[in-house]
Amino acid sequence: MSGRVGIEEKGDCLVEPVPAGGGLDVITKNELLLGPGLRVVAEETLKALGISVGVRLTDFGALDYVIAARIEAALRAEDASASPITLPVDREASDRHRPRRSRLYAPGNRPRLLTGIEVHGADCVLLDLEDSVPPSEKLSARILVKHLLAATRFEGEVWVRINPLDVCGSEDVREILIGRPHGVCLPKAESADDIERLARLLTERETELGLPSGSTWIMPILETAKGILHAEEIAGADPRIVALAFGAEDYTRDVGALRSLRSLLFARSAIVAAAAAAGVQASDTVFSDIEDDEGLAEECVAARELGFDGKGSINPRQLPTIHAAFSPSPEELEQAHRVVAAAREAEAAGSGAVALDGKMIDRPVLERARQMIRYADLLRAGGGSDA
């Protein structure tokens, strides 16, 4: 059992190191069709690692990135001194103000659920190394996520939720930064100090890898009583922060609350206010019943009313509902355009006061209308998909 990596399920493969001189043993359901490609990937990976041991690979339909990751994980579990494989990554930095209506979670140890996660049109895909990964799989999961990051083109943003820094978050950062995610989510953030420590780690690793310093965003997840009470200092702790996220499951446990719109009102409002004060976005917690579309829609409406910009999602099926709720509706957009047009007319007429339908338009209302139009333009420009 020692050194065996992978899960016996579709899209994955099992890799076991065998004694030196054991060669490469590939087992696949369709040797003629799949065998040659599997061997090429395995051999390239072994060469990149520079370790001469044998490997037995049992394939269940894994893509190249999975095979490479599983081999790397199996061999590094045997030989802790082996250095990580570095990979070429072609990824543009993202705009800090881009729409983040959805952050779609995927478990970082499950190729079956990771492969194809980029096709669903999520504004942010969030590859998870924390709660969905058991302690024994932390190493193989972060290696898998690294290879996925390097192999995959994302239309939106791709983030990694690392483990808290005093668990194994710093190892996570060292590994996954090779794959150049747009940002890193820090779970259970409780103080400005947590953020500053993460920012230092990121800077250090960015420098080592030759990446522009400060190019990796941070999204703290506030999901404890302490975190909520320190929302303001957290939000302002570092310019890498582009959004605050809320985690209701841990928060309710921490404070002893039952989950309801009412019981979470304080925490949600605290996050929205702190985010707004720091000029960053706020992203609401996940809704965990994937069968309940109506419940999801209700919670999205409530979150948007409170001032959230987006919401977490545990299944791609939830994305259309979430995107619809956090996008300006056609009616809202039309009203925004009317407000802006009225302001333009007033300006042309040299009048200081702007009126529409017999009502005065205040400055904040005008500013909000302009913001909404800019946001809608961003969405149309491909900052987010309709699907």
Partner: protein
């Protein structure tokens, strides 16, 4: 010679002079109809025979004869194996098996090929029999695959003469009327056999539920039936739901289904009176569900949905979202029950459904259809018959008939299955030519046939992810090293007929790998 689908095919295959595929609607078949030997029955003739052997004997079936069956019990069929065993016991040799389709349960057919009882197979082969035939050297003549409509046409036109038609009927009367929707083990309509019953030299109804005259609805009529045989077991209706008919839970497949429904909504066809057919796969079922939701939201009532009937389609009928279901076969037991109970769930035979040689078939009235596939190529050609390793593993079903008939034909297919890219430079086998395919929907985007720029515009306006097949192909090929490629030999193991009786492609033996 090279046919109009760009495939290299022999001019002669076995004893057949090949008419090459010339285009989806290019062939004019002007021949008349085949004749059945006339028989004038006396009043109240006793048609019940004691056993299947007695019926085979009475039919005068001889070595080299053709024996036909339907597939309406799908993988639950118990008749074909029993009848072939009886043929073997009678010492018959070199029979031509002419079932509409064979399933994994018909694996014993392989033994009957080996022992010489069967030497030719025409019809769909799903699973082991197809894999066996693919090896080559097994049959006296290459197998022939036809669509539902194509099979009906071939019998009517006299391309295939049936000596003995065996029709499994969940309920029948002693004078030869039979139905598939009633009885102890209803499997859904059995009108796939209506053409066999009308053109075979001899027609035998076998039933496990013989009831007093009259049994109805008379899907198989007394005027066509020579004899009736009672059997203990004809099939297990629980197996008419095959593995491909479960609603999918895979996020990738649901994504494809969602895009499919969104594309239909964005198309010019989505309006009052709209009609559609979903195939049998998990993606199609989910797309049907999503489409129903959209129709409800938009307040649109469709004119008809076309089966294989499914629970999903029946649900739309019961909600009043479609006015009728036109149905040739049942894909689950909800559909069977609905055929019995709902007047608007109309049973149609494959001639009405899909026949090329007709004054108009039902698929020609379809606005849109979404169908599955094994592979698609850059010319929009579709393969549903062979796997990428060259083995023959599936029948055509109604694929050609529906694709040619619908105003907007959509192929739903994952761009990647495991390690295998499904968009190829050239499909392994052309089942359905690109000229009748309008849209290909994958999880990575929607590709529109260049001749349908009108659709492309509408999809783009609706914010749908429109991409070219080349783009999608390149994207998935970055994720996997190229596959091994089968090198094909010269021996033709199966002929793929286009629905008009021409040859659109052939399946050859695999000789090696590159």
């Amino acid at each position: 010679m090279r046919n109009a689908a760009g495939r290299e095919i022999p001019e002669r295959i076995g004893s057949r002079d090949v008419r090459p595929f010339a285009g989806a609607f290019a062939t004019t078949n002007e021949g008349g109809k085949a004749q059945r030997p006339q028989k004038v029955a006396p009043r109240q003739e006793e048609k019940v025979l004691p056993s299947i052997e007695a019926a085979i004997e009475a039919s005068g079936l001889t070595d080299g004869g053709t024996i036909s069956f339907h597939h309406c019990f799908r993988d639950g069929d118990r008749v074909i194996n029993q009848v072939l065993d009886a043929c073997a016991r009678r010492g018959l040799k070199d029979l031509r098996m002419f079932a509409t389709a064979l399933f994994p349960t018909h694996k014993p057919v392989i033994d009957h090929v080996k022992n010489g009882v069967v030497s030719r197979i025409e019809g769909s082969m799903n699973g082991p029999v197809g894999a066996f035939v693919s090896q080559g050297g097994k049959l006296a003549e290459p197998a022939v695959l036809r669509s539902h409509g194509g099979r009906w046409r071939a019998i009517e036109a006299g391309d295939v003469e049936i000596d003995l038609a065996i029709i499994a009927a969940p309920q029948a009367d002693p004078y030869g009327n039979a139905t598939g929707t009633r009885g102890k083990t209803p499997c859904g309509p059995i009108m796939f056999s209506a053409v066999d019953a009308q053109y075979a030299k001899r027609t035998v109804v076998v039933t496990n539920d013989l009831q007093p005259y009259p049994v109805y609805p008379m899907e198989i009529q007394q005027g066509w039936t020579d004899w009736v045989v009672e059997m203990d077991e004809i099939g297990d209706p629980n197996n008419i739901v095959s593995g491909t008919l479960q609603l999918t839970r895979s996020p990738t497949n649901l994504r494809i289904a969602r895009l499919t429904a969104d594309a239909v909504v964005a198309s010019p066809y989505f309006k009052e009176g709209f009609s559609f057919q979903g195939g049998a796969g998990g993606i199609s079922l989910a797309a049907t569900k999503y489409l129903g939701d959209e129709m409800e939201r938009a307040g649109i009532v469709g004119s008809f949905g076309m089966g294989g009937g499914t629970k999903m389609l029946v649900g739309l009928l019961h909600k009043g979202l479609i006015r009728a279901i036109l149905d040739g076969q049942a894909f689950d037991l909800d559909a069977v029950a609905s055929i019995r109970e709902d007047e608007a769930h109309v049973t149609i035979d494959p001639g009405l459904y899909a026949n090329y040689d007709s004054r108009g078939c039902a698929t020609y009235m379809l606005d849109t259809a979404f169908l599955g596939a094994t592979e698609v190529d850059l010319d929009f050609n579709v393969n549903v018959n062979t796997h990428s390793d060259g083995r023959l593993l599936h029948g055509i079903g109604g694929h050609q008939d529906v694709a040619a008939g619908a105003a907007m034909t959509m192929i739903t297919i994952p761009a990647l299955r495991g390690r295998m890219p499904m968009i190829m430079d050239r499909v392994t086998t052309v089942t359905t030519p690109g000229e009748v395919i309008d849209v290909v929907v994958t999880e990575r985007g929607i590709a529109v046939n260049p001749k349908r720029d009108d659709l492309k515009e509408r999809f783009l306006d609706a914010g749908l992810p429109v991409r070219t097949l080349e783009e999608i192909k390149t994207e998935v090929e970055r994720l996997v090293r190229p596959l091994g490629k089968p090198v094909f030999g010269d021996e033709v193991v199966a002929v793929i007929e286009w629905r008009d009786g021409t040859v659109i492609d052939v399946v050859r033996t695999v000789e090696g790998w590159a």
